[in-house]
Amino acid sequence: MRLSVDNINQTAPYWVIQLDDMTFRFVTKNGVIYRVGFYKDQYFLGDRAYHFFIANETNTISPKDVDVYKVITCVIEEFFRQDKSVMLYICDPYDHREAIRDNLYKRWFNSYPKHDELTLQAEELDFEGYIVYTGMILRNDHPEYEELLTTYKAFVQRAINIYKVQPK
């Protein structure tokens, strides 16, 4: 799959550069460099799903900038132009702000004007007190809609059942 940076740049408030088929880079008015993109799932849903990632240059909290949200929306919207796109996310726990990130995904989804065309299945995996926030977003008209939701729920349930190692 290759996403179109031309489509993204038609509405994105910052100029977006394409790094590879599904990864992009942009610089904000505050000089913060963001990378945003998708990476194929390798273990659970395979070719049918991509993990969504976003990172800034310093991996620190950046000044609040609504235009970053708008660019991310443009990128995700371009992703969902594809019929068979499934987006997965796992909230990065490196700075213990994973719950805030999870809330941002949910807020993005609920405020997205076309969210009634999509389904968000969000889960909290409690690994003996260590919470992992994860989610799957897919189009409501996805031809494997029911199967994918069932598969995702089965994955979550097995993860809950099986993951017994206490993370550091």
Binding site: D20, Y39, Q42, G46, D92
Partner: protein, 42 residues
């Protein structure tokens, strides 16, 4: 090689796959860094 469905994973394989999935962001970031260097952005 056809990918094995996770339902067929052993418990150990499932756990390893879960940990690997948690580390995919680092893998993605490494590919981004490499690409930015190729494009002269770093």
């Amino acid at each position: 090689m056809e990918q094995k469905a996770f339902q067929q994973y052993s418990d150990a394989e499932f756990r390893d796959a879960l940990i690997a999935t948690m580390n995919l962001k680092q893998e993605w970031m490494a590919s981004v860094d490499k690409r930015e260097k190729e494009l002269g952005l770093r």
